[in-house]
Each structure stands twice: as structure tokens, then as C-alpha cells.
């Protein structure tokens, strides 16, 4: 049965290709057909990359990388941001051409010059950010871009039937006629996987597959991955920092650092600590030691807060909590459950439609962002590039944002009256140099456009800027999302340091590990509500995970 399905899919993919480019496909057909006809034997090498080298101006992104994967295997690729994972993946998926090296599929040398080539060769990819059309059904999304058997009409029935077959085979639970907008994040990811399988993927690349999932969803995904491997697929998950998951699902791990393979190990012969050490090149603290601080006054208090989303739907429903000096309140939850709206409502960036916001007892409801800034409330937004930074401005210009109208950055210059209208470039420069030093921002100069910084350095810059303004309350929304182990550790340490100095921190994160290890109390958000607030020392991962999925409401309500 397996052969027939795969065969059919292959057939449709090939036909699609032929209409586009007759000559190209007929040449390729040999390799594809080979690939299709041979029965998948477990343990046979499907994909092999040898000596892959890719240079970018000033960077050796991939330095003679060897990589291979067998059918039925899960071979994780592990590395920090900038280690070369993405480049390697883009080469495999036809987005880049390697400068040196070769790719072989079942021993045959292939050139992959576009994602279409990759798909034709049986390489499928599930991106971290899903590429689905929300108002359309699962089946419609799956056949999007494929030739139908009944051109010019769609053959949704047949597609639905095949999706059901695939689901059965790999143990997904997906309703082909459901609309994407009704699906949870985990279900959407499954649709993406089905999309790849439907196109005949034999090698499946998963880019940071667990980054957006709740703990129960992660578990489910792991089951699916194991099942797919058992059925003979080769699965390559790309992972930046979720080491427990690497340990749980993979058969082998290849670790990249600075463009080179530093280790390739069978998973059962290693452990988390060892992996982290190899990945970062030094010992890593997994859990920042939870600092003890005297809890002071209540700095921020929110009562029955309500606000609308960008689409004018209720996004916050009677949210109440308070934070004291020296306390970290963690907000756990899958993103999209009102976290961004909450952060914006308590920084003046979103209109509050009900309830109150108090800062040190003073009513700040619906005050302007600048009034919140004056109250020394600082915010690390989840959207670093669109909200938090000006990508085409220099690092120095970004380093003074929000403090740009305050001494010492402004001065009188030649004015005969006492108005500090002018920017003091020397002071700004010194300040920026200091931040670059103190926060270990890697950059050739403070004057280059911020666009040139890597993700971790962008976040260091935002953190440096916000902390240098000495806030009373810091709202950190997904402060370590997408960052590598080194940057994550640094940012957590800095936050903990500030807490010990008496800062109140609202830590919003999808990373349950982060929430559990950093917070003093944990609030779980689900569909705009706080379903419960529990002290961290009494919190259990399982319980919180269930609450994140909306399964259970417990704990003290309110605060």
C-alpha cells in the first residue's frame, strides 16, 4: 500500500514538473524513478552530503561539512545560531549553491538548484513559521500549487482521501476538511508535515519543530516523528537549544559550531550536558540559579484588565496580577493567548477597554507610552526587528532610544537659553561603547547599521538599552526566543541579576523551562485569561502544561 501511495504522489509531482520544463525533468526522472522504485530498506543511506563548503563575504558559513542520514533514522542537527545549520539546510533545499562539496541521494550525485528540485528528489521541509492559508481547509492547503488530476478543477475529494490515508499510516489526527484557522499550532504543524509527505518526501527536514509547541504537543510530535522513522522516513530536526528533545527523539546527533562539524554521536552514548558543552565549546549553566531578593513594594498591579486584539476581538479577559520589587512573575502560555496584548496594555501601546493598571499605586490606565517610560517601565518586545529596533539606524542611535531626550545625551550646545535640544554625540558614543563591552555585543563598530547584527546580538542590544535606563519594572516578552544557548544563558543571568537588585520583572515566555527556572510565581495564560497563578516551588511542569493547553483551571485566582 505504501508503494502505491508514494507512487501516485510521485507521479503527480513529476507531471507537474514536466509541464514546467520538459527537458529538465526527463533528465531528472531517472534519478527520481530510481528513488521511487527501490523499496525502502531500513538503515540504507538515503542522503549524503560530502565536504559541503559555503562562503559568504567575510564568513565561512559551512566548512567541509559531511552529513548523512539513513532511512528510518532521526538524525538531529544541533548548533547555536550562526553555527551554519540554516545555511546547510538552505543548500539542501536548493536555496543556496555550495561552493564546494556534493550531495548524493541513494548514491547518485544530484544538483539541487531550487526548492522544487528538492521536492522532486523527495526532500521535504517544514519551516518554523508555517506557510498556510488560514481561511482554507487542510486539503486545500495541501494541494496548493500542485497540479490536480482534473484540471482546471480541483479534486479535493481525492486529496482528502489521500490525506486520510497518510494520517492513518503515520498516526496523525487531522481532519482534511477543517479550516486552518480552527486548528491549534500543533495541528497546523501536522498539516505542514502532511504537505511534505503528500509531495512524496522521503527525507523530512524539520526547522526548530518544537519551538512553538506546548509540552503536550511536543510529546505528540515526538510520537509522530518516531512513527515516521519506523515507517522508513529519514527525519532531520534542526534544533538550537532544546536539548532534552534532541535526547528524546534522535538516533544520532551532529553538532555544528562555527560552520564545522564538531561532533557526531549516537544519542544513546551521550547526554544533555555533553551535547551543550560540545555545542557551545564550554560548560553551560542550564538553569540560572534562582536569586533570592527581598520582595519590596507592589510596583505594578493590574486589575480586571481587558483589551482588544488587532482584529478588535477580546484579547484580554479580566486579567489581574501584581508584581513586587525583586520578584519575577512568569507568564506561561502558548503565544497568541493574549501575551502581546497584555504587554502592550501595560506599556501604553494598546488601549485598555476595561480594568485598571497601577504603577506604585498611581493609576496609569490608558496613559501614553511616554508616560509609562517616565514611570521607568521598560519593555523588551517579542518583535525585536519591527518594534524594538530601527534596523537601518546605527547601533549607537538604537542604544539611546527612549533615553534620547534625557541628559546626558542632550545638551545646550550654543543655545543662549537653557534648552537641551541637541544630541551629544560624544556622550552617546561613550555610552554605546560601554554597553557593547558590558553586554558582549559582537560588532566591528558602534556606527554600523543594526541590520548587520545577529539575532542574539540584537537581543543583547535591546536588553542593554532597556536595563541601562534603570527600570522599576521590566516586561520581557519572549526574551530568549530563537536565541542560542550562549545568548540565552547571558540574558537569563542578566535578568536574574536585576531581580536581585530589586527590579520587578514580568517574564512572558513560551519556554516552560525558562519560566520554571526563573520565576518566583507562575501565571498561566490561556485565551486571554489567567487560568491560575502558582508559586514556582510548588509548580509541576505537567500541571502547567495542561493549563497552557486550557485543560484545567486551578491555583489561586487573581494574585
Amino acid at each position: 500500500m505504501r508503494q502505491s501511495i508514494v507512487g501516485k504522489i510521485k507521479h503527480s509531482t513529476e507531471r507537474f514538473g514536466r509541464t514546467l520544463n520538459q527537458a529538465r525533468v526527463s533528465q531528472k526522472e531517472k534519478s527520481t524513478r530510481n528513488f521511487r522504485l527501490r523499496k525502502a530498506k531500513l538503515g540504507e543511506v538515503v542522503l549524503e552530503m560530502r565536504g559541503i563548503t559555503k562562503r559568504f563575504p567575510g564568513v565561512l558559513a559551512n566548512d567541509h561539512i559531511d552529513f548523512d542520514i539513513k532511512t528510518g533514522e532521526v538524525h538531529a542537527l544541533l548548533g547555536e545560531n550562526g553555527a551554519g545549520k540554516t545555511t546547510l539546510m538552505n543548500i539542501l533545499y536548493g536555496l543556496y549553491q555550495p561552493d564546494e562539496g556534493e550531495i548524493r541521494i541513494r548514491g547518485k550525485r544530484v544538483t539541487i538548484t531550487s526548492p522544487k528540485d528538492a521536492i522532486d528528489l523527495g526532500i521535504g521541509m517544514v519551516h518554523q513559521h508555517f506557510m498556510l492559508v488560514d481561511p482554507m481547509t487542510v486539503a486545500e492547503n495541501v494541494v496548493l500549487g500542485l497540479k490536480s488530476s482534473r484540471e482546471p478543477f480541483l479534486d479535493i475529494d481525492r486529496a482528502e482521501k489521500r490525506i486520510t490515508e497518510l494520517s492513518k499510516k503515520y498516526g496523525f489526527k487531522v481532519d482534511p476538511s477543517a479550516k486552518i484557522e480552527q486548528l491549534s499550532v500543533g495541528e497546523r504543524q501536522r498539516v505542514e508535515i502532511i504537505k511534505a509527505l503528500y509531495r512524496g518526501a522521503q527525507v523530512l527536514i524539520l526547522d526548530e519543530p518544537t519551538a512553538v509547541l506546548t509540552p503536550p504537543e511536543v510529546k505528540e510530535l515526538m510520537t509522530i516523528i518516531r512513527r515516521m522513522a519506523k515507517e522508513g522516513l529519514a527525519v532531520i530536526p534542526f534544533i538550537t537549544h532544546k536539548l532534552p528533545e534532541v535526547m528524546a527523539i534522535s538516533d544520532r546527533v551532529t553538532i555544528l559550531r562555527r560552520g564545522k562539524v564538531v561532533a557526531r554521536i549516537e544519542t544513546k552514548r551521550t547526554n544533555k550536558r555533553d551535547l551543550a558543552k560540545k555545542m557551545v565549546g564550554r560548560e553551560v549553566l542550564f538553569r540560572v540559579k534562582r536569586g533570592r531578593a527581598k520582595m519590596g513594594r507592589v510596583v505594578l498591579e493590574v486589575k480586571n484588565l481587558e483589551a482588544l486584539s488587532d482584529r478588535d476581538l477580546p484579547a484580554l479577559k479580566k486579567v489581574s496580577f501584581s508584581i513586587r520589587e525583586g520578584e519575577i512573575l512568569g507568564i506561561a502560555g502558548v503565544s497568541g493567548n493574549g501575551q502581546r496584548e497584555l504587554a502592550e496594555a501595560i506599556t501604553g501601546l494598546r488601549r485598555v477597554t476595561g480594568g485598571r493598571v497601577y504603577v506604585l499605586g498611581g493609576d496609569m490606565t490608558n496613559k501614553s507610552p511616554s508616560e509609562f517610560i517616565d514611570q521607568r517601565i521598560r519593555y523588551i518586545p517579542e518583535d525585536r526587528m519591527k518594534r524594538g529596533l530601527l534596523m537601518d539606524f546605527s547601533i549607537a542611535e538604537n542604544a539611546i532610544l527612549k533615553a534620547h531626550s534625557q541628559p546626558p545625551f542632550v545638551y545646550r550646545w550654543f543655545l543662549p537659553f537653557d534648552k537641551k535640544w541637541f544630541l551629544d554625540e560624544r556622550k552617546i558614543g561613550e555610552h554605546t561603547e560601554k554597553l557593547i563591552q558590558e553586554y558582549g555585543i559582537v560588532t566591528p563598530s558602534k556606527d554600523i547599521p543594526t541590520r548587520n547584527l545577529s539575532g542574539g546580538n540584537l537581543q543583547r542590544l535591546i536588553l542593554a538599552r532597556e536595563l541601562s535606563q534603570n527600570p522599576k519594572v521590566l516586561i520581557a516578552n519572549q526574551p530568549t526566543r530563537g536565541l542560542d544557548v550562549g545568548a540565552t544563558e547571558f540574558i537569563r543571568k542578566k535578568l536574574m541579576e536585576q531581580k536581585e537588585k530589586g527590579m520587578a520583572i514580568l517574564l512572558i515566555s513560551e519556554d516552560l523551562d525558562e519560566i520554571m527556572s526563573m520565576s518566583d510565581r507562575i501565571a498561566v495564560m490561556y485565551e486571554g485569561k489567567i487560568v491560575g497563578i502558582v508559586p514556582a516551588d510548588k509548580a509541576k511542569v505537567k500541571e502547567i502544561g495542561l493549563m497552557m493547553a486550557g485543560a484545567k483551571q486551578e491555583g489561586e485566582r487573581g494574585h
Binding site: 507610552p369 519591527k386 518594534r387 539606524f393 527612549k402 550646545w413 541637541f422 544630541l423
Partner: protein, 362 residues
Amino acid sequence: MLGLKIEKRAAPLPWVELGISGLSIVIALLAGSVLIWTQGFSPLHIYSTLFSGGFGSFSAIAKTLTKTIPLLLIGVGLALAFKAKAWNIGAPGQMIIGAIAGTGVALFLPFDLPAPAHIALMFIAGFAAGAGLAAICAFLNTKIGLDMVVSTLLLNYVVLKLLKYLIYGPWQAPGWGFPYTKELSASLQLPTLAGTRIHYPTLIIGIVAVLLIYVLMRRTKLGYEIRVFGENPKAAEYAGINSFKIIILVMIISGGLAGLAGIGEVAGIHHLLKEGIDGSGLAYVSSYGYTAIIVAWLGRRSALGSALAAFFIAGILVGGYGVQLIEGVPFAMVSAILGLILISLIGGAILARYKFTFRRGR
């Protein structure tokens, strides 16, 4: 099969931008030469007449400088507004309303003032009127979200009708029946450099405006806020920057400068109020207020760049006038070439943000 790949890249360096501007102009001129050629003229000959007519002699430069004055004032104001993404298309109207207000002060002031003070008051009125008109659009934009392109553009027509009403009606000079006001008294006419029509007081105001805006943008916290807002309104909001203040302010400055240009043309060149004081007349297809949009873009929305661009465009206008007279090329051709320059500049600016790589498929 040829594949084209497009990737976004970091902001280009200033000298690269300058090169791109130059290249854009060259491409526009090449495209324009096709136009000229289809009309049966020699492009090379026409271009050399064009440029020598604009920049080739002392008298050419003098004429060019005369036309530079309004373009400079308006262009630098628009550069500032465009930097804050305030799309002010209303400079023609702001220029005319400035001319009307200034002329009103010149002709109908109910009390006597010494001439310098009177002239100063005319210019203040011109600035205030242009600024006021622009501020209305800014206010409507920030308060009820009325698109500024639409409001500023439509007000141009309203102001033009007002001008017509005045010069055909209550303000018309008695006797002759021409659609003019009477002449400004000689003491209120601006002095010019000997032998030219360069009304230098306005030129000086223009140069001061360029320097002030340069300093504003580069050195002040307000300029920083304007740049932040123009670059990324979401980040500006996050930084507590008041968008209302920014938009109103840049519109007041750009409208006011257009108003100054208006009264400058009246007091310095025409000495009376009539249609065409904004440069739209027989020889010019469109108002300085529209041409200055090209100036601001050619100048990459910077103060100094706009000053240079104003001079360059003025030269093309002057030279184009000569081409029309001497060679019989329709002036529409010159404005078509100006249009081509604008399109290729904007296109060039956008393309410069991306990296293009061609690669061969199999």
C-alpha cells in the same frame, strides 16, 4: 533557464546612494533620448543645448539660481516631511496661499510700517499661511486618519480657485482689466543682484532654511525623533515618541517654507499677484510645488542633497526653456524627462535595497 534571486540587504552607504542617484539620472536621460529621437531631433545636440542653457554661462547660472530659490525652499521642506513619511503633495497650494497672504499684507496693511519691517511681516504672513494650510491636513490626518496625499492634493485646487477669485474679483487692479493685483510699491519689492533677477533676500532665507534643517536632522533630539518616526512608526510609538507632534511639526515647516517661496516669487520676481506665480505657466508644465517633489527625492530626502538637487533641476528647467525656444522641441519633452528622472530615482532607491543575483539553471 535563468533564475533571478532577490534578497534584501542592508542600507547602502552614502557614496553608493550618490552613485545610484547619478546612474538613475543617466538612465533617465538615455530613456529620454529615445523620446527625443522619435521626434526627429538629435538627442546629443538637445542635451548639450539643455545643459549649456542651464549651466553654460554666467547668465545661464543667474537664471538657474533665480529658479533655484523656490525649488530650494520647497524642496528642503518636502525633504523633511518625506523623511517623516508625511506625504505632502500640497506644496503648490501652500505656495499660492503664502503668496496670497504676503500680497495681502503688502497691499492692504491698514497702518504704515518702515519697509524692512513691512517686508518681514509679508514673509511672516506667507509662512503662517502655508504652514496653516499644511497643518489642517496634518491635523485631519492624525485625528481622523484622513489620507494626507488626498487632502493636500485637493486643497491645491481650492487654493487655486481662491487665487482666481481674488485676482479676477476684489483684488484686481483697477483700470486695465487684467487678472492681476496692482503692483507692490517699489519699497516692498525685493532687491536683486545687479543685472540678474536673483532676489537674494529669499535666497538667503532658503540657504538658512537648508542649514537649519540640516542641523535639525543631524544634531537635535527632535530630528532624531523625526527620523525614528519616519523609519519605523511602530518603534517610534514604542519609544514614546508623539506622532501627532512630529507630523504637525514637519507639515508646518514644509508648508511654511512653501509659503515663503510663494511670497518670495511675488515680492522678488512678479511684484504682483497673478496666476502662474507658482511657476505653472506657459513655459512650465507644473508648479514649483510639484517639481520640488522631484527635488526632495533626487536629494535623497536630505537637506544638503535637496539644495544641490534644486540647483540641478532649476538648470534643467532653464535649459529646457532654451531648448524649446531655439530647437523647437516641445517643453512637454523636458517635463517628460523630469518625470523619467523621478521614476528612475525612486526605482533606483528601491532597487538599491535589494541584492540581485542571476544564476543559471540547468
